[in-house]
Subunit: 299 residues, 2 copies
């Protein structure tokens, strides 16, 4: 699912936010926006929007930041989000324990965690508490839970693709539940190679102890998604050989929805009209969907 | 209040919508977006965002539309909005009749009408019914009603600057109430000279019978706001000589907030962060404010 002009307003809003978090003002901010405007105009429409984000970040980094610092303008926001998300840990655990089907509830919670995303413009608010309260009646516009469970039961090696900081707390609870039910299965949690927007990196995953729970690796992706051809060879091999892949969030969905894999599942909230239209669902719909390629003829 | 880079994402979203309403797709839509991106990059940051809208509209019009047609891509949407707004007419009248202070309620309703605006990206939904129900307890972040009433009582000539289609229904009810209370006052309702986004034109004002109620004129503005230097000479004279000016909405606010006039009042909802920050209020706040220049040192 490549970029299209529909992505430009959100991309610009995100770039604006990044430049502000980098402390840029006045002429510098205008210069960064101009760079972004020209990059969008010069590039063909059919690249991943994630590539524009990285190109502009690289420009900000080389032009305005010290070469010694890690470029992570969303660092403070990520820490704040993690702290908020952590306050929900116990109540999510409780929800799962008390549910008639604890695994299904854990999966629902993991999907719900995707609402935590201040990177997606149209979905900046953390209305987690509100959503969590009504999770029992939460409607999924696409809900391939049965095929998911069938794949999960057969799987030996599970690749779990992380998305945003804060959301990873929900992933941790879900993974804990899967491990409890299926202790023999191997689960690998994969994250971005470098900080990009609010996406989970190895450092972020460690901050919530994910590496203590399951093997945690970098996919090699420097994009806020998983452009498979731009991940490490070992990750590409892992992607191919995993028996089940759980892909979290819109960034991973946009970059992986055309990839072929017999047991690839997407957990996300459709946060923008482009993705909602593509999936033929309402904006903000919850999705638990088996790989699009063999299912609905998407490309 | 000139444009700044903060306006770019919303501007792009609006241009995208315009190009879609014009039926543009694929390469044509990309070409229009590229034109917009380059226009934004090439222009200095300190022009009115409204000028970018008009420049891109002009490009779409000359490149893709028949020269014989009126360029009014929002025409259908305006008609739909008008039809929805008209369904509220009776209940607004009733609210006003039943209120302890009918004039104050009429003024509040006129301000509330500004929530109808599918042109402002962050405020596309028509939650009129909901807002109307709680109008009695509606909080204004800035509420210069007393100075407004004092100016109104003394005024002989009142200039009322229209904003969006749909909102104009609320203006009509308010103007009716002012006329009922002060039949001797002359009221002039001024609108845009040409269709631009969803702003009221002479044809739109006639469609709701505004011209039967009060004198209705074009300000000469081709922008979705009132850049005074780009209105007709007669309008500029009228602006100067009016005893009271009621300026509706954000477009008029952004372009007039630095103008000097002793009895200029802004009725609006702060629909974007830039305006909310400028006014030091929360996003979506309701505003009934006396001219900023002599009041809060804005420029």
């Amino acid at each position: 699912m490549k970029a299209s002009v529909e992505c430009y307003p959100c991309l610009l809003a995100q770039i604006l936010k990044t430049s502000e978090l980098c402390g840029l003002e006045g002429a510098d901010k205008k210069e960064v926006m101009n760079f972004a405007l020209k990059t969008m105009a010069d590039l063909p429409a059919d690249i991943y929007p994630h590539e524009i984000v990285v190109a502009v970040n690289e420009h900000i980094k080389t032009t305005y930041c010290s070469s010694h610092d890690v470029f992570d303008p969303f660092s403070d926001l990520k820490n704040q989000t993690r702290a908020i998300a952590e306050t929900f840990y116990l109540s999510i655990e409780q929800k799962i324990e008390q549910a008639p089907d604890s695994l299904e509830m854990a999966v629902k919670c993991a999907a719900l965690g995707n609402i935590i995303d201040f990177g997606a413009k149209s979905h900046g608010n953390l209305d987690v508490q509100h959503e969590l309260e009504k999770i029992d009646t939460l409607d999924f516009a696409i809900y391939d839970y049965q095929p998911f469970i069938e794949s999960l039961e057969k799987a030996r090696l599970i690749l779990y693709l992380g998305d945003n900081v804060g959301e990873d707390i929900f992933d941790k609870v879900c993974i804990t539940e899967i491990k409890k039910k299926y202790p023999e299965k191997k689960i690998i949690f994969a994250v971005r190679d470098q900080p990009v927007i609010n996406d989970v990196t190895l450092a972020d995953a460690r901050a919530i102890g994910m590496d203590q729970l399951v093997e945690t690796i970098s996919s090699g992706s420097i994009y806020p998604g998983t452009i498979l051809s731009k991940t490490t060879e070992s990750f590409q091999e892992l992607f191919k050989t995993s028996d089940l892949i759980i892909s979290k969030g819109q960034g991973n969905f946009e970059t992986l929805c055309s990839e072929e894999h017999p047991h690839l599942f997407f957990f996300l909230r459709a946060k923008c009209e482009k993705v909602a239209n593509y999936l033929k669902v309402d904006l903000k719909s919850m999705i638990l969907m088996k790989s699009a390629t063999d299912r609905m003829g998407y490309s």
